[in-house]
């Protein structure tokens, strides 16, 4: 990702529930997704019957471990376009930094995220 595009999605969910909702959605599109804490570099696979991490608020998301490793090796090369989402989760909004918001998977993820984060004024812990 070189000079990614910031897409801001308003959220009524509160930070932690927005993280969970975002990661659940990501897993629909990238079933083997790997999440990396942007502050520590620690990676977590987000599947297989474990509750999702809810305390991360600045994270990189890759489709799988192999792609994450390629990002480590190559950095922001064009061949890796649209294979990483940088998510910054705050109380009232989620910012997704992406290469191309119109790329199919990214577009569907962003559209779904807008939908779920606006769904319900009854979210507990809402901003």
């Amino acid at each position: 990702m070189i000079g990614g595009i910031d897409v801001i999605v308003p959220s009524r969910a509160g930070k932690e529930q927005a993280v969970v909702a975002s990661l659940r959605l990501i897993r629909r599109f990238w079933p083997s997704a790997v999440v990396e804490d942007a502050n520590t570099g620690q990676r977590t696979a987000i599947g297989r019957d474990a509750l999702l991490p809810e305390t991360l608020c600045d994270l990189f998301i890759y489709p799988d471990e192999e792609t994450a490793n390629r990002w480590d090796e190559l950095g922001a090369e064009p061949e890796l376009a649209n294979t990483m989402i940088h998510l910054l989760v705050r109380d009232a909004q989620v910012t997704a930094v992406v290469d191309d918001p119109q790329a199919e998977t990214i577009r569907m993820f962003l559209s779904s995220l807008r939908s779920v984060l606006s769904m319900n004024s009854l979210w507990k812990h809402a901003a």
Partner: protein, 167 residues
């Protein structure tokens, strides 16, 4: 939400701000015992399904340390239902199961039938079926994440809601 780790189920409930689970119970002094029994029932139901789920008090407290908001959502479910089948369903959703279908049949003053099918997000195993004949369990549906994905309807996730009396 406090970072101090609760020591027992009552502290866990109160730390999550779900005091109503205990305080609105009648008789109040029996609330924790009843909730323990519900968790025990859920553990047994999970076992019947070949699942090892963390419904013991110590398990929930341990999960709370890393996942306080998802444990909170489960505790709210415990306030809606003591039905072990539904409690297992809720935890499976929290674990990431996909809500693949919901069937609700209701006839005023006659019948209620809720059926939820869950599948693995990885396409593994057989669908899991969860059924209830108790209308109270309809309250669980309010906690489902509701959205569209590519214009199509989706229920996904189980979330804590702001309930009456909560800030």
């Amino acid at each position: 939400m406090s970072k101090t780790l609760p020591q027992d189920l009552e502290q866990l409930i109160r730390t999550c701000g779900e005091d109503w689970l205990i305080d609105s119970f009648h008789p109040r002094e029996q609330a924790v015992d009843v909730l323990h029994k519900a968790l025990h029932g859920a553990t047994e139901e999970a076992g019947r399904r070949g699942l090892a789920l963390p419904f013991q008090e110590s398990d929930l407290i341990a999960q709370y340390e890393q996942h306080p908001f998802q444990v909170d959502a489960f505790l709210q479910a415990l306030g809606v239902t003591r039905n072990p089948v539904m409690l297992v369903m809720v935890w499976r959703i929290l674990q990431g199961a996909t809500i693949s279908s919901v069937t609700l049949q209701y006839e005023n003053m006659q019948s209620f039938h809720l059926r939820v099918a869950l599948t693995s997000p990885y396409g593994e195993g057989e669908p899991e079926e969860y059924e209830s004949r108790s209308v109270n369990d309809a309250g669980l549906l309010r906690h489902f994440g509701i959205m569209t994905v590519d214009g199509q309807p989706v229920f996904d996730g189980f979330y804590a809601l702001r309930l009456g009396g909560q800030d």
